[in-house]
Symmetry: C2
DNA sequence: GTATTTGCAAATGATTTGCAGTGCT
DNA sequence: AGCACTGCAAATCATTTGCAAATAC
């Protein structure tokens, strides 16, 4: 129900496919198109990749979700939420959030450049505990 | 000459194509495969995209260059250099460096998580002076 | 001289598009 | 009812691969 409203508040029709996309993103944190496709087929066996791509685009265009690009990997998608940084493991590729408030960084940037900055995305890479 | 050594120090053969790739990256700061292809054809009219892709990969695998992924754009490539953050204009897509030392951020992350962090990439987005 | 690299053409993989039918509001 | 959305198939675009000839060292 919550996600139905979430979609409607962003002027998108609340189709069951879209609701399911949001649920899967909430559950996984970040998900690639391929994994999304695999998961969502369990519920909608006839869904097409084209539909996923179209929905990802419409949801991005209203800032409901965000694309996370990672060097050497396919893009992942996540629901817009509170400020955080990303940390990706160089070995296994796992992506995690860590709490990080970039407000300060943004303010500094605004001070030191003539850009009107409004968003920061931070990608840290390293080796995760499991792979160490 | 400098770039010939740069390649050799990374155990790559210094072909004229590779030297030219490095020159173009130095000149442009960040460049996409397509732009690289357009530019480099002026010098090597018979160069193929396959060669570019292959070289980009070999140069990345020895950390001579780095891939910069930007949401909504194709990847760009740049020579590894001193720490900086990226700022991209949401309107015209222009990408710029701003000086930024992420050492502190890295240290904090190491303290607060059990990852062994070794690299940070920061992408700020906003509106550039020209587009304001 | 030998191993690597180049450039071509073809294969593969990812994303987008057009369109007819369906479903949300 | 009307417009947006879905799913299919086909088109397009991006990247990779295999291989023979060329080149760096």
């Amino acid at each position: 129900m919550k996600n139905k409203f979430l979609l409607q508040h962003h002027q998108l029709k609340a189709t069951p496919q879209r609701i399911s996309i949001i649920e899967l993103m909430e559950y996984s944190g970040h998900i690639s198109i391929d994994d999304l496709f695999k998961e969502i087929r369990e519920k909608f066996s006839s869904i097409s990749l084209a539909t996923l791509y179209k929905n990802i685009h419409s949801m991005m265009s209203v800032n409901l979700i965000r694309e996370v690009k990672i060097p050497g990997q396919k893009a992942k998608y996540e629901i817009e939420k509170i400020p955080h940084a990303h940390i990706v493991c160089k070995t296994c590729g796992e992506l995690k959030d860590i709490p990080f408030d970039a407000t300060r960084l943004l303010e500094d940037t605004i001070k030191n450049s003539d850009y009107r900055a409004d968003d920061v995305s931070i990608m840290i890479s390293g080796i995760c505990p499991n792979c160490k």
